[in-house]
């Protein structure tokens, strides 16, 4: 997806106008609201989807992905200036990384977005206090051990 060559590790600086930050803040607000509305900030709903043999299968996550993909795919199609990007080769890192992520996700029903969003309800729900710092440590380990700025 994004290049991992050393030259590309220097990420281009973004034009720091206030209007740009307002748009990004709004993008985050939309994203976070979407996570909450869709129920993805509730790990029981996520596990309900991942639990195929449970008897009360919850297809919600599939609808969330469908809604998100519809908007994003159509958007990138009709906004030609957006970088389409290139598929990276299917590397060991990609597959092993995805598998490790899958294990963690399946264990507690959190992926990065919902875990961060749940920081909004510290005091009522404190699971993110355990998960998010550990997630940060895991990320730092990859960056320090492998020097792989993906």
């Amino acid at each position: 997806m994004e290049s991992t060559t050393p030259e590309a590790n220097k990420r281009p600086a973004m034009d720091p106008h206030a209007k740009t930050f307002a748009k990004i803040l709004f993008a985050g607000l939309l994203f976070g609201a979407g996570l909450a509305i869709s129920g993805m900030t509730n790990p029981a709903k996520v596990i309900g989807f991942l639990n195929l043999a449970g008897g009360a299968w919850d297809p919600s996550l599939a609808f969330v992905m469908a809604g998100a993909l519809l908007v994003f795919a159509l958007g990138t199609r009709f906004l030609p200036q957006l970088p389409r990007g290139q598929s990276d080769p299917i590397s060991k890192g990609l597959v092993i990384g995805a598998a490790l992520f899958g294990i963690g996700w399946g264990l507690v029903g959190f992926c990065p977005g919902p875990a961060l969003a749940n920081l909004a309800r510290l005091g009522q729900v404190n699971d993110s206090l355990w998960f998010v710092p550990a997630m940060a440590v895991g990320m730092i380990l990859v960056q320090r051990c492998f020097d792989l700025d993906r």
């Binding site: 985050g28 996570l35 909450a36 029981a44 389409r84 899958g102 940060a136 990859v142």
Partner: protein, 146 residues
């Protein structure tokens, strides 16, 4: 299955908002706003590239917080994970998403949304492994005396 069940429509709408937020961030920064990457690169800050990421993360927290306040349905929460499980899972998710180059938003939405084959593969892998993990935790582990 009732396609038009309120739960499903709510999920669809929430998903559309997630897609819209991702699209807006992508269009504004020209960088893929997969959340594992947005956070990951804050942890390895570079001048001119960090402030927007922090802004987006704060926006996500605020947007969710507003919905939690406005909707009891959105605010519902059920989890039985212990702190140990949460720490272990967090380590795996952090390590795995950076090694694999993305998460449900990075690969699942932004990657597949642009038709990228590596994201399709990554998504199939993490979905499949997650489902297997859930099966093993709920059905594969036989409790003694149970």
């Amino acid at each position: 299955m009732d396609l038009l069940h309120p739960d499903h429509l709510r999920a669809l709408l929430g998903g559309a908002l997630i897609g819209a937020g991702s699209l807006l961030a992508f269009s504004t920064t020209r960088k893929v706003p997969g959340i594992s990457g947005v956070l990951g690169r804050v942890l390895r800050p570079q001048k001119g590239d960090t402030a927007w990421r922090i802004t987006m993360l704060l926006g996500i927290i605020a947007g969710a917080g507003v919905m939690f306040a406005l909707s009891t349905e959105a605010a519902s929460y059920q989890s039985s994970s212990s702190p140990t499980q949460l720490v272990l899972a967090g380590l795996l998710v952090g390590f795995g998403t950076r090694l694999g180059g993305g998460c449900t938003s990075g690969h699942g939405i932004c990657g597949i949304g642009r038709g990228l084959w590596d994201s399709v593969v990554a998504t199939l892998v993490f979905m499949g492994v997650a489902m297997l993990t859930v099966w093993l935790c709920h059905h594969g582990v036989h409790h003694t005396g149970g």
